[in-house]
Amino acid sequence: MDPRLLQELKNLLGPEGVLDQPEDLLLYEYDGSVEVARPDCVVFPRNTEDVVGVVKLANKYETALVGRGAGTGLSGGALARQGGIVTVFSRMNRILEIDVENQRARVQPGVVNLDLSVAVAHTGLHFAPDPSSQKACTIGGNVSENSGGPHTLAYGVTTNHVLGLTVVLPTGEVVKLGSQAVDAPGYDLPGLFVGSEGTLALVTEITVKLTRNPESVKTLLAVYDKVDDATETVAEITRRGITPAACEMFDSWTIRAVEEYVHAGYPIGAKALLLIDVDGLREAVEADAAEVAEICKLHHAVEVRVARDAAERDLLWKGRKNAFGAVGRISPTYYAMDGVIPRTKLPETLRRLEKIGKKYGFEIGNIFHAGDGNLHPLIPFNGRDRDEFRRAIAAGTEIIRTCIDMGGAITGEHGVGMEKDHLMPYLFTAEDLALMHRLHDAFNPSGLLNPGKVLPSAKACGEIYTRPAQSGQSNAPAVSSTSSPHA
C-alpha cells in the first residue's frame, strides 16, 4: 500500500483510527465464512465526514474500499477480496434517536443489533430482524446484507424495517435516501441499497422501524423420530394458514451438538426437533399454540413440550441462538450454507441433502429456518485436509444446485458476497446479470467499493470455479492461517 495513502489516512483519522501492522490486520482477513482475504489497512471513521474523507482518499489512490461491521457475515461480504482499505464502523455505534411514539430509531451503522432492542426494551418495542449473531452483528451489516433471522418469518427481513439511509457514494457525495415517514416519493432507493452488500455505497446512518412486542408468546418444542415427520409438520402448519413467529428445525446431529454445549434440554437421540414460537394477542396465541401442537402430534411427534415460562422459553431459544458456536466445538472448521426452497419441497430437499452428504463423505448437519424454507446445511470438515476442504466446497455447490432445482434461490439471508458470485449464473441469465452490472456501475463505476462481490466477473460466467487457496472457519475459535490446508 502506498505509504502516502497510509499517512493521509492517519492524518484524517488519527493514529488510533488506522491499523496497518500485519498482526493487527490478521483479525480482519476473516469473517464468519470460509473465505480469507487480507486488507492492506483497516480504518475506523468516527462520523460521516470521516467516511467521506476515506472515500476521497481511496479515490485519489485508486484503492479498493470495503465496509465492515462486526465481521459475522457468512459470505465474505466484509472481506477485502482484492486488498485495499477495510472501513470498520465500530466507532460509529451511537443510537442517535429513539422515537417511541412513532416507533422509529435513527442509528449509526456500528450499533449492535441486539443493543437497539435492549435500549428500547422498557418501551415495549424491539428491532425485529434478529440474526443468530445479533449479540455481535451490527445494523449497518444487517442493512448491507438484508439480514434475516428466526423471527423474520412473521416480521420480515431487514429491508422491511428500513425507512431511510444516509449513504456516502463512491464519489464521496453524501446522499439521504428514503425518509423518516413512510412512502418517500420516487423510486424505492432504500429498497435497492438495502441488501446491495456494500457494493453501491457506504451507509452512515439508518432510520429503522421499531416493532411492538407481542402481548403473549408461546414456545413449543416438538420432538420427532423421523426427519420427514418434522418437515411434513412444517408444510402442514404453512398450509393451514398459521404463521408462527418463528419455526426452526434441528436434525439429530445438531441436536446433539447443541445440547452438549448449551444444555437447553433438547432430547439427545431424537432425529429432529421443531422449535416454534407463536405470538400475538393472548386469545390468538392460546388457539394457535393448541393447533400447532395438534399438527405436531398428527405428524407423529413423540413429544410436544410447551415452555412454561419466560425462563424456559429463553433456554430453548438459547440452544438455537448458540447453535453455530456449538457446532464449532465439534468441528472447528465447517461450511455454513444458506439456501432457500419452497416450503412444500422441504421433505424432498432434506432427503436429497442426506444423499449429497453420503456421496461426498460428510454427515451434513441441518439447523434452519424451516418456516420460510431457508436452509442452513452445515458441512463439518477437517480444515487441515486439503482434499476434504475441496469435497466440502463441491458438496456445498451441489446443495445450492439442489435448491435451485427445487425452485429456490442461492441465498436467503447470508448474501452472495464472494462465496456465491460464481453461482449467480445458475439463477440469472446473462441479460439479468448485465443489467445488475449496469446498475452497479451507475453508482460504483470504477468498482472502488467492495470489488469482486455479488456479481460474477465477466470471465467467471460459465467457467469452472476454482476456489482461492484458504482455510475455513465459522463463528468458531479462530483458525490461524498457518493451519490452513493451503498454507
Binding site: 415517514a181 420516487g186 398459521i242
Partner: protein, 465 residues
C-alpha cells in the same frame, strides 16, 4: 393517421397479429393520458411479444406507456411524448400457484378480483386491495404504487412482491428476486419497479407471497369532535397489543363523502344511514381473528375510544361490513367523483405530526374557500382532497395556492407530499411530484440504466423522469 404511424402499425401487426393492434380513433380515446391520445395501441400476448415491441419502439424512438385497466393512468404527469399504448391485459395468466408455500406467479394483466377468486379456493388472498379494485390489474396496482388500508397489517407491495420479470426500455427481458419467501440473491431490481409507473420497465411477471384469509373480521367505528381526539385513539390502539388490519381517520367532510350518492354510485352495496356519524371526525378500524379475538378487540376498542372522548362508538353489523370496508378502500375514486375538479394530495409524515398536518391542510383549504376532505391512515399517510366547485380559472388559482402552501408546510414537518390526482389541464401548474428532492440525481441514474432511450412514459415520473 400519419404515414409514420401507419408504418408503425403495420410493423406492430407483424409482431402481434393485426387483430391486436388498434389504430382506429374511437378505441384510442380510451388510452388517453391527460388529453394525449396515442396513435396506436398494441396488445401483446406473451412476454416475447413485449420484448419485440419494446425493441421496435426503442429503435424507432417511439414513446410507449404500459397499461392494464387504465384506472390509474391519470396519476402523475402526462407523458411528454406518447406514441404507443402497450395494453397488457392479454397477459393475464396465473403461471404458478403453490398454495402450500403461499406463493404465486402471475402475469401483469391478471385482474385482482379474479385473482382473489383463485386464491379464495385455498382460503388465501392478496392484501393488495387498492382503489378501483374491481377493474385493476395486478401489474397496474403494483406499478402505480397506490397503497391500501390493509397496509396497516400487511405492509405494501414491497413487503410481499418476491420477484419480477420485466422488459427494459431497450427491449431486454430481465428478472430479479425469485418465488421463495426469503431471498437476498442479487440486487432487488423488482423493488424499483414498484411505484415506478412503468417508467423503468414493462412488467411481464410478478411473484407474490399470498396470505391466509382471515377467518373473520369486524369493523369498529368511533366518532370524535376533533381530529386530535381521533388521532389520540390511533396512538392508543397502536400502543396496545391489538393489531388492526386497517385504521383510517376521516375528516367530517370525508365521512360524509363515504355515505354520499357519489359513493353509492361507485360502491352499490348499501350503507346503513347510521353507520357513520354526521359532521364528526371518524376513525374506522378493521380487525381479524377468531370470535374470541374479535370480542377482545371490540372490548378494548370501546374502552380506548371512551378514554379519547368518542361521541359515538359502534361495531359495524355484518351486512354493512363489506360496504364500509369497500368505501374506505375506494376513497380516492369517491373523492374524485365528488367534485368537478378534484385534486388529491398524498402526504406522509411521522404519525405524531398528523394532527398538525391535518390542521394546516384544513386551514389552507378554508382560507382559499375550498371544500376539502381528508383521510389519514394509521401509519402516517394523509390523503387530502381539494374539492372546488368547478373547473374555472378561479378554482384553479385556489387549488394551486392551497396545495403550494400545504406542500411547503408539510416539508417543514419533514414529510413527503405529492399531488397524484388533479384535472389534467391543471397538472402543469401544480407541483404534481412535490418539492425538489435531494435524491433525484440517484433516481436519474436508475432511469438511465433501465431506460437509456427515455421511451418508457417519458416525463411521467418525479423530476420529469
Amino acid at each position: 393517421m400519419s404515414i409514420a404511424s401507419i408504418t408503425a402499425s403495420s410493423r406492430l401487426a407483424g409482431i402481434v397479429s393485426p387483430a391486436h393492434v388498434i389504430s382506429e380513433s374511437p378505441e384510442l380515446s380510451a388510452y388517453e393520458i391527460g388529453g394525449k391520445r396515442p396513435p396506436a395501441v398494441v396488445r401483446p400476448g406473451s412476454a416475447e411479444e413485449v420484448v419485440e415491441i419494446v425493441k421496435f419502439a426503442f429503435s424507432e424512438k417511439l414513446a410507449l406507456m404500459p397499461c392494464g385497466a387504465r384506472t390509474k393512468l391519470s396519476m402523475g404527469l402526462p407523458p411528454r411524448q406518447y406514441d404507443l399504448a402497450l395494453d397488457l391485459t392479454r397477459l393475464a395468466r396465473v403461471t404458478a400457484y403453490d398454495p402450500g408455500d403461499l406463493t404465486l406467479a402471475v402475469e401483469p394483466g391478471a385482474r385482482l378480483h379474479e385473482l382473489q377468486k383463485v386464491l379464495a379456493e385455498h382460503k388465501q388472498w392478496l392484501p393488495l386491495e387498492v382503489p378501483y379494485f374491481a377493474q385493476t390489474t395486478t401489474g397496474g396496482a403494483i406499478a402505480s404504487g397506490v397503497d391500501t388500508p390493509l397496509r396497516q397489517l400487511y405492509g405494501t407491495a414491497r413487503d410481499y412482491v418476491l420477484g419480477m420479470e420485466f422488459v427494459t426500455g431497450e427491449g431486454v427481458a430481465a428478472k430479479s428476486g425469485g418465488r421463495v419467501v426469503k431471498n437476498v440473491t442479487g440486487f432487488d431490481m423488482h423493488k424499483l419497479m414498484i411505484g415506478s409507473m412503468g417508467t423503468l420497465g414493462v412488467i411481464t411477471k410478478i411473484n407474490l407471497r399470498t396470505f391466509p384469509m382471515p377467518v373473520a373480521t369486524s369493523i369498529f367505528v368511533a366518532a370524535f369532535d376533533s381530529a386530535a381526539r381521533a388521532i389520540e385513539l390511533r396512538h392508543r390502539l397502536l400502543r396496545s397489543p391489538l393489531r388492526p388490519m386497517s385504521l383510517e381517520i376521516f375528516s367530517p367532510r370525508a365521512a360524509e363523502l363515504l355515505a354520499s350518492d357519489a359513493a353509492s354510485a361507485i360502491v352499490p352495496a348499501p350503507l346503513p344511514s347510521d353507520a357513520l356519524a354526521r359532521r364528526q371526525w371518524t376513525l374506522v378500524a378493521e380487525f381479524s381473528g377468531s370470535e374470541k379475538v374479535l370480542a377482545r378487540c371490540e372490548c378494548d376498542f370501546r374502552q380506548m375510544a371512551g378514554e379519547c372522548s368518542a361521541t359515538q362508538v359502534s361495531a359495524i353489523l355484518e351486512g354493512a361490513v363489506l360496504s364500509i370496508a369497500t368505501r374506505v378502500r375506494e376513497f380516492i375514486p369517491i373523492a374524485l367523483a365528488s367534485s368537478a375538479a378534484t385534486a388529491i394530495m398524498k402526504m406522509s409524515v411521522l404519525p405524531t405530526r398528523m394532527t398538525q398536518l391535518l390542521a394546516i391542510a384544513e386551514q389552507a383549504a378554508e382560507l382559499n374557500s375550498l371544500d376539502a376532505a381528508a383521510m389519514a391512515r394509521g401509519l402516517g399517510v394523509v390523503y387530502f382532497a381539494l374539492l372546488p366547485t368547478d373547473h374555472g380559472e378561479e378554482s384553479r388559482r385556489r387549488v394551486i395556492q392551497a396545495s403550494d402552501h400545504i406542500l411547503n408546510e408539510c416539508a417543514k414537518l419533514e414529510g413527503n407530499a405529492t399531488i397524484p390526482w388533479s384535472p389534467a389541464e391543471w397538472k402543469s401548474a401544480l407541483k404534481v411530484w412535490g418539492l425538489p428532492r435531494a435524491d433525484l440525481e440517484q433516481m436519474r441514474k436508475i432511469k438511465a440504466v433501465f431506460d437509456p432511450g427515455g421511451i418508457l412514459g417519458p416525463g411521467r415520473f418525479l423530476g420529469g423522469l
